[in-house]
């Protein structure tokens, strides 16, 4: 047990927590934007995978990591616009359209990756992002190394949490978004373009999801594997509910998940005599348990899942 209590262990654990939480924070913020406007985006898992693949291939061919991130955001936007066409403009079932986007994107990601790379024995790798220490702050014991000696994308994720919160609760755009999500008929009455607002939210959310995926292949790891997203998109959907559609609480949920994920990795590494697959279950199981705790008083946007057709009021 002594090994567990050392400063190095705690520092490493917290740093890993941040790394594990980052893609989920991106995904959660993206999903919050969509759902606050009244659209459940189950395309998230596939969009993250397409982001991971596109970001990786772009960096592999151009050598530029930031170009990879930009490409991932772009592909996230494009897939979300497709989602908007299906679920917003055509008004198809949000559940099934989202799953359709995920299945389609998953197939497409693997298809394009195979086309571009073939089936080499060793999958190609990129030189991933390196950590950037923030002067002074990174000198703080334990927390400094964990929080302020991280990838730039981690900082961006953390900065986006208050930004999305301000957007939603402190700007007129945010008011419009939330009105569209809660009562699209009222929004329409006061002159807000419901479908356009939803589309823009999906696009912005999709960009965040794409970047979350790219973090996995450009920072967390340096290669693309077919199961690289591994359900993180679904975890993000769960974290939105866990956080009651609030960016800060959603981030807290993502951090808890990241902590459990990091902990299971560390404990494995220390050779605890517990099979590592049982550790892998813990974060998923805890997410389900957490949902049980919050779901009774969860207050989803009232307009969620309902397509808006002006002539079909009430």
């Amino acid at each position: 047990m002594e090994q567990v209590m050392t400063t190095a262990f705690v520092t490493g654990l917290l740093a890993a927590m941040m790394r594990m939480a980052t893609p989920i924070i991106f995904g959660t913020l993206g999903e919050i934007l969509c759902e606050r406007a009244g659209v459940l985006n189950l395309g998230i898992e596939g969009i993250m995978l397409m982001g991971a693949m596109t970001g990786f291939l772009t960096t592999l061919t151009t050598g530029s990591l930031w170009l990879g991130v930009a490409a991932a955001a772009l592909v996230g936007v494009l897939l979300s616009l497709f989602m908007a066409f299906l679920a917003v403009y055509l008004g198809l079932s949000q559940h099934v359209s989202g799953l359709g986007i995920t299945l389609f994107s998953t197939g497409l990601a693997m298809f394009i990756y195979r086309l571009a790379v073939g089936s080499p024995v060793n999958p190609p790798t990129v030189r991933p992002f390196t950590q950037t220490a923030i002067p002074f702050l990174s000198g703080i014991p334990i927390l400094g190394t964990a929080l302020f000696n991280q990838y730039v994308l981690v900082y961006i994720a953390l900065l986006l949490v208050p930004l999305v919160w301000i957007l939603l609760y402190r700007t007129s755009w945010g008011l419009a978004i939330r009105t569209v999500g809660e009562n699209p008929f009222a929004a329409d009455t006061v002159g807000i373009d419901v479908n356009l607002t939803r589309t823009l939210c999906l696009a912005a959310g999709g960009a965040l999801m794409g970047v979350g995926g790219a973090f996995l292949t450009l920072a967390h790891q340096n290669m693309f594997l077919i199961d690289v997203v591994g359900g993180r998109g679904w975890i993000a959907v769960a974290m939105v509910i866990f956080g009651n559609w609030d960016p800060a609480k959603g981030m807290a949920g993502a951090m808890i998940f990241g902590f459990l994920d990091a902990l299971q990795l560390r404990l494995q590494g220390l050779g605890f005599n517990i099979p590592f697959h049982l550790f892998l279950i813990i974060p998923y199981l805890m997410t389900v348990v957490a949902l049980v705790g919050v779901s009774r008083r969860a207050a989803a946007p009232a307009g969620l899942l309902k397509p808006y057709r002006r002539e079909e009021k009430g």
């Binding site: 055509l90 008004g91 359709g100 197939g107 693997m110 086309l115 359900g231 099979p275 389900v288």
Partner: protein, 350 residues
């Protein structure tokens, strides 16, 4: 764009919708084939020849269609009751694990009894796994989409634990169970093929689901809950009980998909026992319009795509993942086609 309700279309058009969706999907598949640099004609020919061209290939397509029929039925039955079971994959794995367990330690009983035990174990394991999200939904109002999805990963890692632990073949370092006993294996029904008992069971399941759907009180209640749970409750239906029973049957069907893969195809429990059959079930159920007969037909269609993609890939170099792309496209195309039967879509400029 304006979407407005249209008058109900005659029945024969409704029936043609999935056919139209299939054709549209096949046409759209030309895009990824061309992107991959495949010759169009050769691609389509090799796809269909590979799946249907010879007796063996046709029977292989039937073999692949069996688990797809089970997962398709599982999803269709759940969706009809608006129980959003996206967890057929995990329920399939639960069924596979249970079948392997019984099959490996098969008791010395008559074959028919052993096979019954294997199927019962798989059905109950899949069904039990599906009742967890159903219970959470009815009791704690936890979103079923999210829990069924998350439980897929839990079951996957649980299988990993078993295959690296208690169920690992002694002396092996691979995640692979010992072989199931000869007595616990589905018999092959046609010589020089893998056409096995499970395929017949899948067809029986189609009939059973059709019967439950349209001839039993439970089937009626289940559909009523799907249409409007409040009205159903008002009409005296115990909604929670119906959701639980629906989950049990849905998960059980998915579990049977796993049974066949273990005791008729692989004979071992393996980490890649399912190449996403559970997720394909969603597409299959939607394309089959949640009807059991439609489901078995669309399961066969996707089996053609999956089996045919292998030979297309060999002959034209188009990656086999084309099958996954086509599945995704089919679901989206079918959704749009269904919309067009109920609504008129007009493009307008504001």
């Amino acid at each position: 764009m304006i979407v407005s309700k249209r008058a109900p279309l005659p029945g024969w058009i409704q029936l043609l919708v999935p056919v139209g969706a299939v054709l549209a999907t096949l046409v759209l598949s030309a895009i990824p084939i061309l992107i991959a640099g495949g010759d169009l004609w050769l691609s389509y020919v090799s796809l269909f020849r590979g799946a249907l061209g010879t007796r063996y290939n046709f029977l292989e397509t039937c073999v692949k269609a069996a688990p797809l029929t089970f997962t398709g039925l599982a999803v269709a039955f759940a969706f009809r009751a608006k129980f959003w079971n996206i967890g057929a994959e995990g329920q399939l794995l639960a069924g596979a694990i249970a079948a392997a367990w019984v099959g490996i330690y098969a008791p010395p009983l008559p074959k028919a009894v052993v096979l019954l035990l294997v199927c019962a174990a798989g059905f109950l394991a899949g069904g039990a796994w599906a009742t967890i999200p159903a219970l959470l939904k009815t009791k704690y109002r936890v979103d079923d989409v999210v829990t069924t999805l998350l439980l897929n990963y839990v079951m996957w890692h649980l299988m990993g634990y078993l295959l690296f632990g208690p169920l690992q073949m002694p002396g092996s370092s691979w995640p692979r169970s010992p072989a199931v006993a000869e007595i616990a294996r589905f018999p092959v029904l046609l010589i020089r093929s893998r056409f096995h008992l499970g395929i017949v069971l899948a067809l029986v399941a189609v009939l059973v689901v059709w019967f439950v759907n349209s001839k039993t009180v439970f089937g009626y209640q289940s559909r009523a809950v799907g249409v409007n749970p409040r009205a159903a409750a008002f009409g005296g239906i115990d909604v929670n009980a119906v959701v639980m029973k629906t989950a049990l049957l849905s998960g059980g069907l998915a579990g049977l998909a796993g049974v066949g893969e273990v005791v008729a195809i692989h004979f071992h429990l393996l980490m890649d026992i399912s190449p996403g059959f559970g997720y394909s079930g969603i597409v299959i159920a939607m394309l089959g319009r949640l009807h059991p007969v439609g489901t078995v037909l669309s399961a066969f269609f996707f089996s053609v795509i999956i089996v045919g993609a292998q030979s297309m890939s060999r002959l034209t170099g188009v990656p086999t993942y084309i099958a996954e792309v086509i599945q995704g496209m089919a679901l989206i195309v079918m959704l749009i086609a269904l919309l067009l039967t109920e609504y008129r879509v007009k493009a307008v400029r504001d």
